[in-house]
Amino acid sequence: MAEHNLFLLLACLPFATSLILLTLPPRARGASTWLSALSLAGGLVVLAGFLPGIQAGNVLRASLEWVPSLGMNMALRLDGFSWLFTTLVLSIGVLVVIYARYYMAESDSLPRFYALLMAFTGAMQGILISGNVLVMVVFWELTSFMSFLLIGFWHQGAAARDGARTALIVTAFGGLCLLVAMLMLGHAAGSYDLGMILRAGDRVRAHPLYGPMLVLFLLGAFTKSAQFPFHFWLPGAMAAPTPVSAFLHSATMVKAGVFLLVRFSPVLGGTEAWFFIVTGAGCITLVLGAAVALYRHDLKGLLAYSTISHLGLITALAGIGGPVAILAAIFHICNHAVFKASLFMAAGIIDHETGTRDMRRLSGLFRPMPFTALLAIVAASAMAGVPLLNGFLSKEMFLAEAVDWHNGTWLDDALPYFAIVGSSLSVAYSLRFIATVFFGPPATGLPKAPHEPPAWMRRPVELLVLICLLVGIFPALTLGPFINTAARSVAGADMPYYHIAVWHGVNAPLILSLIALGVGTLIYAFSAKSIPHGPEGPFLLHRIRGQRVYDWILFRLTWRLPRLALRWLSTEALQPQLRLLVLAAIAVACGSLWGVLFFASDLRLHAPNPAFALLWLVGAACAVGAAWQAKYHRFAALVLLGGAGVVTCLTFAWFSSPDLALTQLLVEVATTVLLLLGLRWLPKRRSEIAEDKLLPAKIRRGRDLVIAVAGGLGLASIAFALMTRPLIDNVGDWFLGNAYYEGGGTNVVNVILVDFRAFDTFGEIAVLAIVALTVYALLRRFRPAPESIAAPAQQTVDGSPSLDDYLYVPSVIMVWMFPVLIMVAGYFFFRGHDLPGGGFAAGVTLAIAFLIQYIGTNVRWVESRITVLPIRWMGIGLLAAAATGMGAWLFGYPFLTAHARYVHIPLIGEVPAATAMLFDIGVFATVMGAVVLMLVAIAHQSLRASRRREIDEAPRKEAA
């Protein structure tokens, strides 16, 4: 159990550290360094504790439930390979943290940097230790995302932003492919558990989906590991701060791809397709990367391409896939991480202390910075594969595999040649690095005078170089056992112990190594003069740039294609969109109801009532009239709309829905007033639109008429079919039966609104408040049409009757109505739980009470007498509703659980006193506030316009 918890702690530690780091102030440089380094060191201690079990061949597991319904658990799994890899990541992480403390400038926020770095480490570690392939993909994408943030850490620079974006697009694209591949893999293997999948190799390889699965899987791995043809993002990522490069491009990010290849080689590997694609891509990358590296002038560019080349080597080994090749791959993963991290750090030191990374300007640095030079030379020799250094051993194992291993294909025959060319070029670029930077005449004209860095900036490099030497000289005593455990956990427990030795006698690999050293030296000797003046790439190849192809594709995909699609598939015009929407609705209704929609044979209809028919004759006339008049006679259309509304309201009343009728009537009043206020700002249409008489307009109208009639007929027939069927038992019966006992009210509609389905109502009043605020905000910057700025005709004609002349008596009555309406609103509210009424109706009533004051007098008169604060009403209403809901928590019930009882109040009698009543107060206040806010905001526009007119006219009057 302790082990289980420690394992979970290991997984969470970097993320937790990252969160803590985010809270530190930017100047907390020391604290953030210590925190990050100690956190990683803590992870290493935990790992060290696991070592005995791991070496015994155990697999450590831990899991947390995540989405149990999907069979997705947060499963963790640690075996020899992931133990070794995690240890490598965390160790290099500690060194990078120390190094970054001295590398990053005072102006950079170190806590932010470390927070990103820790989150990245957590994600990388997550890939390594996840025991569920889907969880692994999640971490995989997280590393892409965190590396985007890290590469773009200096986001002020365009190069950093571009590099980060390219890296993100390429690796996240790969991640998506990987996700699909993992879904297929899980499907083929019958489980998403990593352990199960690793044992299901035969089943997976025989599965019909093996082909697409393999391609998608390799796309994921190759993009991450910068394999040809996806290698181009890596050089762009060199815009990152050097500690990031040292971490991401030695031990982590790019190694995630080869980790995946090695991890899954027993499952997906062993087939011809695997060998050809993986080893083929690896070989091309190996040679191409090394060839380009030789020609790069930027120090980090050289290292970037060298990384690509070495990753190609590891990929080629993973493609071969036998136990020894796997062991060699793992060995080279470790060795490369160690020497490449130290080289990146050394390059960073050189950049930091001289101000440039351009190898054409750097020269003779051995004299001013001898220690750094020595370290870099040893590390570069390891990279070149010089004997007695770690790089030599794993490269020799690769050469041995290339020569000794056979499967009889042409690629197998070509392997030794690829190996020798790649190795020779790697010797050449390492030589170029050493020779140009540290030897030759002292450099002149550098931005800074070169000198040794602070001691602690060099310590990480010293340690790494020491490891290069120790592993190179005593491989069996140092890394040997760990590598064997790791390889055994991948290739199977029956794998014989492989003894890594420095000296195997004079054999083919050794001879090839020596040839590579010799040829590499010759290549450099012959090209040393021409490289600094030439293009940054080998003959002809520098013209073909992956980056340019990528840019071309990206431009087509993200710029041209969307615009083309937009032009062909979309329109800014509203009418075609709405037409499509209506047609789609009709089509869906037809499609789903065709053949199903029948009218019951024994129609049990209510006998038609002539009064009702007459009512709807008027209603239909109003509706059609409104449709007919809305273009040229807006006012008439508005009146007719009101007529249709009133008929609707009467229909609600007719069919036993007093609540709806009441609310509809009140809202009808508010809507009509609102539209009337709006009409003030919509200039009259004085002349007929000429275009309307033309044929195309007539055709459009005819077509829309057909659509409208079809829609109307459809809705009518659905409604008829529905109404003529008997009602089946539904949830309404339960509401009816329990409204009084459970909700404490006899008006079931109100009980549903404020008790049974109160959460819906809460959402609805929130929407109402949001809309009201939006209306208010839109009107604050409202600029009316120029034609409607002038005062309306009724106010400008001399001698025209003023408001007082024709509304004198009504306005007095309207003012007197105020208290009456307040009382009515109160009445609606309090009886709402038992009889028709409630918060909605009361809210709109009170809003109308205010509205009538504005209509009967004028804005100034009203606002000098009453202070209406609609926004506060809304706020208080929402808070009251929410507080009522949360009150239920105090008693241990879910949100918005209501309590109901009746209270006896002297003189008044039994009064329902449910907590739902408090909620209804919230509804009431919100509705009232929202309606008043919208109406008053529009009404105020007149006041603003008249003020503006006064301001405009004041100077004119003075002039006169």
Binding site: P608, A623, A644, L660, A708, A719, T746, V749
Partner: protein
Amino acid sequence: MEIILSAAIGILSASGIWLVLRPRSFQVVIGLCLLSYAVNLFIFSTGRLTPGAPPIMPKGGFIDPTLYADPVPQALVLTAIVISFATTALFLVVMIASRGMTGTDHVDGKERSQQ
């Protein structure tokens, strides 16, 4: 009664749809209002027509649900009425603001001849 109400729903919705497809913004506002009447009546009608039996319960005692109108569509429509008022207000404000900014009441902010 059912025939009358379904015909009413049909006419309201047809008028609404026709107006919604028109080019002038005021037509669209009126169309949305008519359409909301139609849809509210449609939802209401799914509870079937029950004249003279509002869902107001007695205080206690046995309750036979078949004697009362279905309360669920009523509760749904009640909030819909208030919300449709709010959306009408929003559309109206957008409409007059657009009229002020573009100088035309065409829904696209420019006349067809200018496209």
